[in-house]
C-alpha cells in the first residue's frame, strides 16, 4: 500500500518535471531550427533591399518591402488600438468601479473577443472593404489588424489597472480632480507598466499575424508611400515564398522567418525589461 503510494508520487512528479522541462526544450528547439536554417541564407541584402527583377526565381533582392510594410501596419494598428483601447480600459476602471456585475460582464465579453480567430477578422475586413469600395491597401490592413488587437490591448491594460487600490482613486478625487484627470494623470501613470506591456503585446500580435492581412493589405514589391497603396507583410512574404518550388526562394523564406523571429524576440525582451523598469516606481 505504502509502496504503491510512494511509486505513484514519484512517477507523477517525474512526469510533471519532464513536461515542464519539455516546454523549455520545445522553445529552444523551435528557435534553434529557425535560426540555423535562416542564418545560412540571411544576407545584408535581405534586410536592406526590396525584391529586384527575378527575385521570385531566385534573383537579387531582399524583403525590405515586407519588413517596412509589417512595421507600418503594426504601428498604425497599435496607434488606433491605443486611441480606442486605452480610454475603454480606463472607463472600466474609473466609471464602472461601482458596478461590479457590469464590469465583470464587459470583461467576460472582451475575453471572448480575444478568442475570435484572425481569419474571421480577415474575412470580415474584406467584406467591409468591398462595402466601402476600398482596395487591398495599407489602410485596410491597418484597420483590420487594429480590430484584431484592440481587445488584447484593453484586457491587458485593464488587468493591471484593476490591481490599483481604490484608495488612490478616492484620494485623487478628494483633491478635486475631475474623473478624466484622475483617469489620465493618476491611473494611467500608476498603470504605465501595464500600458507598455499592452502596447508591446498588441504590436507583436499585429506584426506577426498573417490571416487577417491576407486579403486586406494586398502584396507588393514596393515600399508603400501612401495609405491607399497595397503593402507587403513579413508573415505573408514567408508564406508565399515557402510555396515556391525554387529552392533559393524557399531558403529566403527561412531567412525571412529568422528576421521575424528576431523582431518578436526583441519585442518580448523589451516588454519584459520596460515593464520591470516602470513598475519599480509604482506603489504596491
Amino acid at each position: 500500500m505504502n509502496w504503491r503510494k510512494k511509486t505513484e508520487e514519484v512517477v507523477a512528479r517525474e512526469i510533471m518535471r519532464f513536461s515542464t522541462y519539455s516546454l523549455i526544450l520545445i522553445l529552444v528547439f523551435i528557435i534553434a531550427v529557425i535560426f540555423v536554417k535562416g542564418f545560412s541564407s540571411l544576407t545584408p541584402d535581405m534586410v536592406l533591399k526590396t525584391p529586384q527583377g527575378g527575385f521570385y526565381y531566385g534573383g537579387e533582392g531582399g524583403v525590405l518591402n515586407a519588413i517596412v510594410g509589417s512595421i507600418y501596419i503594426a504601428c498604425g494598428a497599435t496607434l488606433i488600438a491605443i486611441i480606442l483601447g486605452i480610454p475603454a480600459a480606463l472607463y472600466i476602471n474609473v466609471s464602472l468601479t461601482r458596478y461590479k456585475r457590469l464590469k465583470n460582464i464587459i470583461r467576460f465579453f472582451l475575453d471572448a473577443l480575444w478568442g475570435i480567430p484572425s481569419i474571421v477578422y480577415g474575412a470580415f475586413g474584406f467584406t467591409l472593404m468591398l462595402l466601402m469600395g476600398m482596395n487591398a491597401s495599407l489602410l485596410a490592413g491597418i484597420i483590420v489588424v487594429a480590430l484584431l488587437i484592440t481587445p488584447i490591448m484593453v484586457r491587458t491594460f485593464d488587468e493591471i489597472l484593476s490591481t490599483i487600490p481604490r484608495g488612490l482613486h478616492e484620494a485623487s478625487l478628494a483633491l478635486g480632480s475631475t474623473r478624466t484627470e484622475m483617469a489620465y494623470r493618476v491611473l494611467f501613470k500608476q498603470g504605465f507598466s501595464g500600458f507598455i506591456t499592452a502596447v508591446l503585446l498588441a504590436f507583436g500580435r499585429g506584426i506577426g499575424d498573417a490571416a487577417s492581412v491576407l486579403f486586406t493589405a494586398g502584396y507588393t514589391d514596393l515600399i508603400p508611400t501612401a495609405l491607399d497603396e497595397p503593402a507587403a507583410t513579413l508573415p505573408l512574404a514567408i508564406f508565399f515564398q515557402l510555396s515556391s518550388p525554387i529552392p533559393e526562394v524557399r531558403e529566403r523564406a527561412f531567412a525571412a522567418a529568422a528576421i521575424l523571429t528576431i523582431i518578436i524576440l526583441i519585442i518580448s525582451l523589451a516588454a519584459r525589461y520596460l515593464s520591470a523598469r516602470y513598475s519599480k516606481t509604482n506603489l504596491r
Binding site: T20, L84, I116, I119, T178, R179, G208, A211, P235
Partner: protein, 295 residues
C-alpha cells in the same frame, strides 16, 4: 479655466464610453456582416445540407462543408490530445513544485512561445514535423505519406496551443489557497495526495474551461495549420493523409472566389460558422470561469 476642465472631462468621458461600446459591438457587427454576405447560400441550401453535405464542387453549385469541418475537428482533437497532458502536468509542477529559479526560467519561455507568430510555427512544422512524418513515422507504419498531413497539423497546432492553455491553467491553480493544501497535509495526506485531491479537485471547473478555450483556439488557427496539413479535400480517418480545415479553405480561396457564383457567399458562411462555433465555446467556458471566480 474651470469651464475648460469640465468640457474636457465631458468630451473624454464621451469618448471613453463610445470606444468601449464600439469594441463590445464588434462581434455583433462582424456576425451581422458575415451573415448578410452569406444569405444567398442560405436561400439555396438548408444549414443541414451545408454542414453535413460532403460534396464540394463549387462550379456545379454544390457546397458541402463536411470535409472541411471533419478535417478541422480531426486536427483540433489531435492537437488537444497531444497538448493537454503536457499543459496539465507542467502547470501543476510550476505552481506546486517548481523552485523560484525554474519559474524564472520557464515563464519567459512560455511568454515567448505565446508570442511567436503562427507563420513561424508553420515554418518549423515544414522543416521538422513534415519530414519526420514522411521519413520516419509513415515508413514505420508501412504507408507512403508526403508528410503534409493531419498529423503534422495536429502536432504544430498542439505546440501552438500549449502556452495558451498553460497560462490559463497556471492562473487556475494559483487561485487555490495554500491553507487548503495545508489542511490536507495536516490530516496526514502526502504532498502528491494533497495536490491530487485538493488542488486538482478544487480547480476542476477552471481546468475544463482552460481545455475548452484551448479547443476553440485550435479550431480557428489558420496559417500554421494550412502550411503543413496538405489542403486536399477528403474525409479520412488516417492521420497520415492530408486534410483541409475550414480556416484554410477561407484563406486559400479568397482570390478566385469572385469568378464563381455563390463561392463568395459560401466562404462567408464558412467564416460565420467559425465565428459562431468559437464565440459559443468561448462564452460557455468563460462563463464557467466567471461563475467559479464569484464563489
Amino acid at each position: 479655466m474651470r469651464a475648460g476642465r469640465i468640457i474636457i472631462d465631458r468630451a473624454s468621458g464621451f469618448w471613453m464610453i463610445l470606444s468601449l461600446a464600439l469594441i463590445l459591438l464588434m462581434p455583433v457587427i462582424m456576425g451581422m456582416g458575415l451573415f448578410l454576405k452569406s444569405v444567398p447560400i442560405w436561400e439555396q441550401n438548408s444549414p443541414w445540407q451545408l454542414i453535413f453535405g460532403s460534396d464540394w464542387s463549387p462550379t456545379r453549385g454544390n457546397f458541402g462543408f463536411w470535409p472541411f469541418i471533419a478535417s478541422s475537428l480531426y486536427v483540433t482533437i489531435l492537437s488537444f490530445v497531444l497538448s493537454v497532458p503536457v499543459c496539465f502536468f507542467a502547470a501543476l509542477y510550476l505552481t506546486q513544485y517548481a523552485s523560484e529559479r525554474l519559474i524564472r526560467m520557464t515563464y519567459p519561455a512560455i511568454d515567448i512561445l505565446a508570442g511567436l507568430p503562427s507563420v513561424i510555427y508553420g515554418v518549423w512544422g515544414i522543416l521538422v514535423v513534415v519530414p519526420f512524418i514522411s521519413k520516419v513515422i509513415s515508413p514505420f507504419f508501412g504507408s507512403n505519406s508526403s508528410g503534409y498531413s493531419i498529423a503534422a497539423g495536429g502536432v504544430v497546432l498542439a505546440i501552438m496551443c500549449i502556452p495558451y492553455i498553460l497560462n490559463m491553467l497556471i492562473e487556475v491553480f494559483k487561485t487555490v489557497p495554500s491553507g487548503m493544501k495545508e489542511a490536507s497535509l495536516s490530516l496526514g495526506a502526502s504532498y502528491w495526495e494533497s495536490v491530487k485531491h485538493v488542488v486538482v479537485r478544487k480547480s476542476f471547473a477552471g481546468i475544463v474551461s482552460a481545455f475548452g478555450l484551448g479547443l476553440a483556439k485550435a479550431f480557428g488557427e489558420t496559417i500554421a495549420v494550412m502550411m503543413v496539413v496538405g489542403n486536399h479535400i477528403q474525409v479520412t480517418v488516417n492521420p497520415l493523409e492530408a486534410g483541409y480545415p475550414l480556416p484554410a479553405l477561407i484563406a486559400n480561396n479568397y482570390g478566385e472566389m469572385l469568378s464563381i457564383p455563390m463561392y463568395d457567399a459560401a466562404l462567408m458562411f464558412a467564416a460565420l460558422l467559425l465565428l459562431a462555433i468559437i464565440l459559443i465555446i468561448n462564452l460557455i467556458f468563460r462563463y464557467l470561469i466567471y461563475k467559479t471566480h464569484i464563489e
